[in-house]
């Protein structure tokens, strides 16, 4: 029975590169997938592209490709990634250039069509209840979470590297399985199972012991050298999740259960572009060291609607921090926060919301009562959402002024200003989104 070996080379844009190189070199992989695009990343990339038409793809693309392309080419491992962000075509061209520099003959394809900014105007946004057009000049980007079709087309046409923009994260893994096994796009059970494989792998180390360790209770061996996961997937869609021998971390029922439930909401209805996956009957079984067998996922017909992330400029965030320590530090911190609100009262018209924290006491869950415990130190943090950059700047300046004009013993000020790029969501009929695979010329080989 044929088995596809598929690995995860990144679970977010800034992820570690060495574990991906290990997988490329000795994973005997058919496919290596890099998931590098968070909700907001593509809006930031769109802004970068507006400023420079040759930008807007993942800034780490060069480093990742240089690190893994030689081993992937040598071992026949094909790459799928969303590192194209807002500019998959330029990312693919850049990858071709890197391959040429490295003396490799690779066929590279770009998948486009997720950018729906030109037809988003009349769609009502969930968060605002108003059409996207109401954002006017603040509207930056609109990208649909597309399914497997473009990636499958590119793989069917022989691409060694497929670079897309916004696609659903599990689809990056489901697509190679659909391509290799020839699964029908109405085989809901297999599509559901492939989605589970993708979901377990998409955050990379989060299934091999990352985001997991709790010393003394949930210890993870050799976390410093944590390995990234791979799945051995059968034609029926069931799989074994594992990692390379000699790497750190672990794959257990517990690590897989945490990742199974991660960010899925209703386990019986995990909404995806190509399927509604049902994880409610999944079984996980430890069948060997760092080997977990996954079975029992299912699926049903997709909704026909694609989620669209709409990026828009939402003012400026000004922030400042200062520390207090020793006896009565909490009261000095509270005095500092009260002074900030009083001194910024004249900006009330342009500050729509603020946040006053004492880190170490109440910054994570301010609604919980802090109690009577006196910490040895606190860090005051004040942040405000401002309509303009100048006011955001002033917020940090007022925090810094607490040095000389505030409570006793404040130290270690930091401050920052940044434009807020917010994301809202809507749904768009899948028929409105035309996904395309585009082949690129390479020095020694051509696709199609």
């Amino acid at each position: 029975m044929s088995i596809v070996r598929i690995g995860a080379g990144a679970g977010f844009q800034g992820d570690r590169i060495a574990p991906a190189v290990e997988l490329a070199e000795r994973g005997e992989l058919d496919f290596l997938v890099f998931e590098c695009l968070a909700e907001r990343t593509i809006a930031l990339a769109q802004q970068a592209r507006l400023a420079d038409p040759t930008a807007g793809y993942d800034p780490l693309l060069d480093r990742r490709m240089r690190a893994v392309l030689p081993a992937c080419a040598r071992n026949g491992t094909r790459i799928v990634t969303n590192m194209g962000a807002a500019n998959p075509r330029t990312a693919a061209e850049r990858t071709c250039a890197i391959a040429r520099e490295l003396g490799l003959s690779l066929r590279v394809a770009a998948v486009t069509g997720d950018d729906v900014l030109d037809r988003i105007q009349n769609y009502i946004l969930d968060e605002t209840g108003a059409p996207a057009s109401a954002l006017g000049q603040r509207l930056v980007s609109a990208n649909a979470y597309v399914g497997v079709s473009g990636i499958v087309d590119a793989l069917d046409a022989g691409a060694d590297v497929v670079i897309c923009g916004r696609a659903s994260d599990p689809a990056l893994f489901l697509a190679p399985l659909v391509h290799r096994f020839g699964w029908a796009m109405d085989d809901w059970v297999r599509l559901g199972r492939g989605t589970l494989v993708g979901h377990l792998l998409e955050c990379a180390a989060q299934v091999t012991g990352g985001y997991f360790a709790d010393p003394g209770v949930k210890d993870v061996p050799d976390l410093a050298r944590i390995g990234f996961p791979l799945a051995e997937v059968s034609e029926g869609g069931n799989a074994t999740i594992t990692k390379l021998p000699g790497t750190g971390g672990m794959v257990t029922r517990a690590t897989c259960t945490e990742q199974l439930l991660y960010e899925i909401h209703d386990p019986a209805r995990y909404l995806q572009p190509d399927v509604i996956a049902d994880f409610s009957g999944v079984s996980l079984e430890e069948i060997g060291p760092d080997r977990v067998a996954v079975s029992g996922a299912s699926g049903m017909a997709a909704t026909g609607q694609l989620k669209v992330s709409v990026g828009y400029r939402d003012g400026w965030r000004g922030e400042g921090q200062i520390s207090y320590a020793g006896v009565n530090c909490v009261e000095r911190g509270r005095l500092g926060l009260a002074l900030l609100r009083e001194r910024l009262a004249d900006c009330a018209a342009v500050i729509s919301e603020d946040r006053a924290d004492l880190i170490g006491l109440d910054s994570i869950l301010p609604q919980r009562r802090a109690g009577t415990w006196e910490p040895p130190e606190v860090r005051l943090r004040y942040a405000a959402r401002c309509a303009d950059e100048a006011t955001a700047q002033r917020v940090g300046e007022e925090v810094e002024s607490l040095y000389l004009c505030g409570p006793a013993g404040g130290g270690g000020v930091t401050r920052s200003v940044r434009e807020i790029l917010a994301i809202a969501s809507t749904l768009m009929p899948a028929a409105e989104v035309a996904v395309r695979a585009e082949a690129l010329k390479e020095a020694t080989a051509y696709l199609r």
Partner: protein, 107 residues
């Protein structure tokens, strides 16, 4: 007994929605967790009481609960002024919950 003694947790987010799993270390403790860790107790423990709507999903074969808290993240990570805009720290706080009962795994 704190929930931390018998369960582990992981937190994620999508937009303004928190997704918190609570998973039994030992199958023997599943009935206790299923009975004690109700949606109401979780939202009272960590939620923004004014804005939060919570749903609990149970997966008995995995001895796991999944809590979905809508409106828990002050607009979500892209807008929130919070230090932990993702709400990634919340799951560990859920594990502070006091559980009436004894771990069967330690009997």
């Amino acid at each position: 007994m704190k929930l931390h003694e018998i369960a582990h947790a992981r937190t994620g987010d999508k937009g303004d929605i928190s997704n918190i799993s609570v998973i039994a270390y030992r199958p023997e403790d599943w009935p206790l967790i299923e009975r004690e860790v109700t949606a109401e107790r979780v939202v009272a423990h960590v939620g923004h009481v004014d804005a939060c709507e919570v749903t609990r999903y149970a997966l008995p074969q995995l001895q796991a609960l999944n809590f979905v808290l809508k409106g828990n993240l002050r607009g979500g990570v892209t807008r929130s002024l919070a230090l932990d805009g993702h709400g990634k720290c919340i799951g560990s706080v859920v594990l502070e919950m006091e559980i009436a009962g004894q771990s069967r795994g330690e009997e």
